[in-house]
Amino acid sequence: MKIILHGISGQHPSAKPGAVPALREQNLTVRAGEQLAVIGPSGAGKTTLLHLLACALKPSAGRLLLDDQDPWQLSRRELQELRGALFLAPQVPPLPPRQRVVTAVLAGRLPHESLWASLRSLFYPTDIALAERALAGFDVSDKLFDRVDRLSGGERQRVGLARALVSQASLILVDEPLSALDPTRSQHAIETLTRAAQERGATLVATLHHVEMALAHFPRIVGLRDGQVAFDLPAAEVTPQHLQALYAQHLHELSGLASTEADALPTDPAPVVMHCR
């Protein structure tokens, strides 16, 4: 899928009205099938950028074009259909604790199957082999029939990524896919992701804290800082000076063992849960 961002700004819906947007008037063009890593210090607007691309966030200014089509001009039904071609893997894997891994992975296929087919798959999983193959790409195929709440944080993250392989999206957006993985697993996970995207010609945009991993596996690197694109270069042309400038005052994050901040967005306090009624 081809992406064009034109003077786009975005901020989280719960941000204060007068606050500076997390992403300000940025332009970016991504060709279909291109693979792109977004790096930058915490709070640079990486997650906001992904949410804008996933149509999970409406831009406060500017235009987004996906395959020359403005998703926000579409009707709600058409937009939902378009979302089926996008896949967003958030940093915290969105898996219900009581669900089994096989169901959680096959949920990636939901937009491409009928309600009836998805109900039948709850009764007996329709394509166990597909889920198994996807999990094998991230070394968690042995957990196929385990429940999600029996998995470690790293295993959960990889199950969340396996869902991306099952979906038939033509734009894959992954937010910090490696935040809970050790170096070997990270290496393998990122190779699986990039290969899968390449095989089906899907565009891949990943935000990464791990700069070396980004430089080693992605042909194009976008550096974000304070809501603006600091540089947009082929990986080979990114110099240590670029990185120094990008992470100035955040140099501890450049070490690779970056603190992975969770999506600590200010939300309204949840109502008290009534456990006994």
């Binding site: 819906p13 996933a54 149509c55 999970a56 966030l57 409406k58 709600r76 939902q80 259909e81 378009l82 979302r83 089926g84 071609a85 996008l86 896949f87 967003l88 958030p90 915290v92 969105p94 898996l95 219900p96 604790p97 009581r98 669900q99 169901t103 949920a107 990636g108 939901l110 937009p111 309600l115 998805s118 109900l119 709850l122 979906s167 999206a169 949840a270 109502p271 849960v273 009534m274 456990h275 009624r277």
Partner: protein
């Protein structure tokens, strides 16, 4: 070495060390008492009249007649039949209530809104959801006793009116609480599925339901227990079952029969409790 800290006092003199929440806490405690007082006056709350000899004696006589409970074969047979009828009435009523409550709660739950994935919910769905919530409010604010009196006139005496009464009131309660449970749980899994293009029902079956299945089940079993108890009350207006049996025993001041019926009630509630514990363990 001199100790520089002053001895701890109940009310520290330095204002910075005073608990800032203190005044609010005192205010709300007093306000609660002030609101309670008219209620006590209005309900003529005088628990000591229970202990006056004139009132105590007939009450003790009635309760004394509870022992021993009636246990002969003829009555036990009748009891078993009416128990079965009560359980059937509660179960059928709850099943009908579920048929109504599940679609209504799905219509009213805000987590399954596509338009509120990005910003505010659109006008039409928001009005629809509010409308369904009002319908649920109407259904549950009419007591089942009133529904039963209405249906007894329509379908005549018997369990059918009890079933319909339970179905209507309980669909209102179940629908409202189901929606509340689903909205108070973690919505991340559900919204992510919808953001990636799934339909709302798919997001319900793959995200919202597994997320909240335990709570929903345990609440449903608890409501089944309540339905058994309220079918007793409905028996008093002629809906049949244990309640009707109890009504006639009460009218004849037959304490031993009342005692047997109450024992059956306790057994049923105990059973529901075990069932709920078992289900919650299975779904944990």
């Amino acid at each position: 070495m001199p100790n520089e800290l002053p001895a701890p006092a109940l009310m520290p003199t330095r204002p910075a060390l005073r608990d800032p929440a203190w005044a609010a806490r005192v205010f709300w405690a007093l306000a609660g008492l002030a609101l309670l007082w008219p209620a006590v006056v209005l309900t003529e709350f005088k628990p000591w009249v229970l202990l006056e000899p004139g009132a105590l004696k007939p009450a003790l006589n009635f309760v004394g007649a509870f022992i021993p409970p009636r246990m002969d074969a003829e009555f036990l047979g009748l009891l078993a039949r009416e128990t079965w009828r009560t359980v059937a009435m509660a179960t059928a009523g709850l099943t009908l209530a579920l048929l109504l409550a599940i679609p209504l709660s799905l219509l009213s739950v805000r987590v399954l809104s596509l338009s509120s994935l990005t910003g505010r919910m659109a006008m039409v769905p928001s009005v629809l959801r509010q409308g369904v919530r009002w319908l649920l409010l109407v259904l549950r604010s009419v007591p089942e006793l009133v529904w039963a009196l209405v249906f007894v006139r329509v379908v005549g005496l018997g369990p059918t009116s009890g079933v319909l009464a339970i179905a209507l009131t309980y669909s209102g309660m179940l629908g409202k609480v189901y929606a509340d449970i689903m909205e108070s749980g973690d919505a991340h899994a559900t919204t992510n599925l919808m953001r990636n293009g799934s339909g709302r029902l798919q997001a319900f079956f793959y995200g919202l339901l597994p997320q909240n299945a335990g709570e929903l089940t345990s609440y449903t079993v608890y409501r089944w227990e309540c339905a058994i108890r309220s079918s007793a009350v409905l028996g008093f207006v002629g809906a049949g079952g244990l309640g009707q049996l109890m009504d006639s025993s009460m009218k004849m001041f037959n304490g031993s029969e009342v005692a047997s019926i109450l024992l059956v009630f306790m057994a049923l509630v105990w059973l529901a409790d075990r069932m709920s514990a078992m289900l919650r363990k299975g779904l944990a």
